[in-house]
Structure formats: C-alpha cells, structure tokens
Symmetry: C2
DNA sequence: CGTGAACTAGAACGTAGTGTCTAATTCAAG
DNA sequence: CTTGAATTAGACACTACGTTCTAGTTCACG
C-alpha cells in the first residue's frame, strides 16, 4: 500500500541544506532553520536523514562530488589546458574578493570541525585527492601543448595551483583586498600577455 | 578596603582562553570548559570579562597583537631579510603539515563567524593590514640587499608571501600532505641552492 | 580584633538546542 | 467507499548553554 505522497523533494532539500551549511557553518545553524529552508517537517527530516550530523555528512559528500565533477567538466572542456587552469584561478580569485564570501564548504568544515569527526575528514581529504589528480592531469596536458616546460614536475605545479584555489576559498571569508588576489594570480600563473 | 586577593591570574587566564579558542573554535567550547582551563570561578569570569564574547574578543585581540609583534621581532632580527622571509614561510609550512593543526586563530575565526560580528572582523582585518605592512618592509629590505630584483613591486611580493602564510594557516586544519607544502614553498621563494 | 570589600562556590534561571512522540492528514490500492 | 501505509503538524522531553543570584569565604586595612 502506498501512503501519502511526499510534499518535499529530497534532492532539493539536500541542496538547500548544503547551501545553508555553506553559508553559515554547522553549529550556527539549527534544525528549525534547516527545516524552513528544506521545506519539510521535523519527522520527515529525521526519517529521511537520520539526524543533523547525518544530513551534514550527506551535504558535504554532495558538495565534494559536485566540486570534483565540476572541475572535471571545466578541465575537460574546449580550449587549451593552460587557459582552463588560468580561468579556474581567476574565477576563484574573483569570488574571493567579491560579495560571495562563503568560501569552500570543505575547507570551512575542516576549520570548524578540526579532527573531531573522522568520517567528515575522510570526505574532505578524498575530495582534495581527486581535485589534485584532475589538476595534475591538466598540467600534463598543458605540458603536452607546450604551454608548460616539459621538464617541470606536473605534480608540483598542480599542488601550487590547488593550494592557491583552496587558499582563495579559505581566505574569501576574510574578503581579502582585490590587489592581493591579483598579485597572487600574477605570481602563480603569469599572464603571457602582460609579461 | 582591599578585599580578598584573587586566586587567578588575569593574564594567564586570557592566554589559556586564547589557546582553547585557538584549538577548538568559539561555539564548540563552553563556559564550563573555559573556567577549568582559565582556573577561575564563574562569578570572577563574568566580573572580569563581561561575557563569553567579550572574552573571545580580548583573546583575538591578544592573538593579533602577539602575531604582529612576533612577526616584527622575527623580521627585525639578525640576518638578511630574504632569509627571514624564507624561514618564516618554511616554519609555517612545517606547522601546516605537522601535528599542530590549529592553524591561525584569526583565520579560523573569520571562517567560523563570517561577517557576523563587526568588531571581531575589524580586529582580524587590522591584524592582516599590519602583517602586510611588516612583510612589505622586509621585502623592501631584501631588495636593498640585492636579494630581490629592484624593479619588482614589493607590495605584490609581500601579498604573495602573506597569502601563502595565511593559506598555510587555514589549510593546516586539513593537514595537507608534506609534498604540497614543499611544492608551494619552492614556488613562492625558490631556494637559490637548489635552483 | 572586627569589618567590609573582593573573591569563591555552586545552585538556580531562562532560553535554545536536538531529537521523540502522538495525532491528524492524505491518497493509492483493494 | 474503506483501508492502511506514509507523510505531516506540532506538542513534548531532555539536555546543554550562557548568565545571574545567593551564600559563604578570605584577608588587607582600620
């Protein structure tokens, strides 16, 4: 027997929760607020996600998956690998100096939770590992294109790029001055047109 | 009339509170725990610091002042400016990959609080501004020593160094792999001996 | 000595948190 | 229809928090 149909959309609810956690962290947001944003009632919430931490874990996992697939799509897109990396960095720099100061949910989470939750930590570390691999692949493609010296270590370059991306994420919460972001950008991947 | 002498030391209590906030953030630590670490009773706590946020504000201010004066001492110390900057960065890199994964209290605070508290934000931004000035001065000294090209923009270099220092602070909460830290180090201030 | 200001100890208060429970509602299937 | 499984609505329990209040204690000063 089928019961009453759901009034909420689980996928939409998860996305909404992710956005809230992203903006305001874990501790600072209460279940009441989550229910409002997710458009569901208490019982359905606990039936569907177990508890607040369970929801958070799913939200972070979703964030990580979207971050990885988003980067993959971007780096697999048309154009030279070097340009893709450049636009990646400049976009992160722009976000870090703009009004959207939410930063990166994964970094925010590690800063807030520290090493208090192994499962959460594993999700974040897994994400970073996958991001590092994608970035290194792109650097290798750029080497193949002749845009990066072929004797350079692609993993080293990828690490610097990823560090910069994550750094922009973390520091966007302090809304760093635009000039600092630009200086970092110039140092990490100098624009050949201005050099 | 002088009353009963204090059993606690205000300075020591503030330092203890700073350490606790540094390790575990603001929301996650309760007043009960603070009292234990600070070695004082409830009433004295509220008489002395007003409330939890008041204590936190003083702790962050203290942290910021110590960070600035610490950097100043370090950069005013003996030796070439370029070596001081190099050792600064490598120490931060070491901390970011080591067991001490507390990061930087100021960055942690901005990540946790976002733009929720203007006074806290002002303290952090003030600290960063002062750190940037000190760093730029050191870069200028390095230029004067001939260790940095004199046609380079010292503010740009200082921004990159500061970004890296703060980035190490933020990302030390994720305990980034040692190799990544080393790659960043090599990219920001290449060691002339290995180049 | 006392006396009283300052501090200590810890009970008590109000509020807000997460998570559970009961009852009412809805709608596909029988 | 009737039935009953699933969802909804919201009251409820319980704990934890920050803060205040009340008593009791200590010790420099008069």
């Amino acid at each position: 027997m089928a019961g009453r149909p759901r009034q909420f959309d689980e996928e939409h609810a998860l996305q909404a929760a992710m956005q809230v956690f992203w903006s305001r962290g874990y501790e600072a947001v209460g279940v009441r607020e989550l229910l409002g944003e997710m458009g569901m009632c208490r019982q359905s919430f606990y039936d569907t996600f177990g508890d607040k931490r369970g929801l958070f874990l799913r939200a972070v996992r979703r964030y990580a998956d979207e971050a990885v697939s988003g980067l993959q799509q971007r780096l697999d897109g048309p154009g030279r690998a070097i340009d893709q990396l450049r636009s990646l960095l400049s976009e992160k720099a722009k976000k870090a100096t703009g009004a959207d100061c939410r930063g990166c949910l994964a970094v925010n989470t590690m800063v807030e939770w520290g090493d208090a939750d192994d499962e959460v930590e594993a999700v974040v570390r897994g994400m970073i590992k996958r991001l590092a691999k994608l970035t290194a692949d792109a650097v290798r493609r750029a080497q193949h294109d002749g845009d990066v010296p072929s004797d350079a270590d692609p993993n080293a370059i990828a690490d610097v790029i990823l560090f910069t991306v994550l750094g922009f994420g973390a520091l966007s919460r302090l809304r760093i001055p635009r000039s600092m972001a630009q200086h970092v950008l110039d140092a990490v991947l100098p624009d050949p047109k201005t050099a």
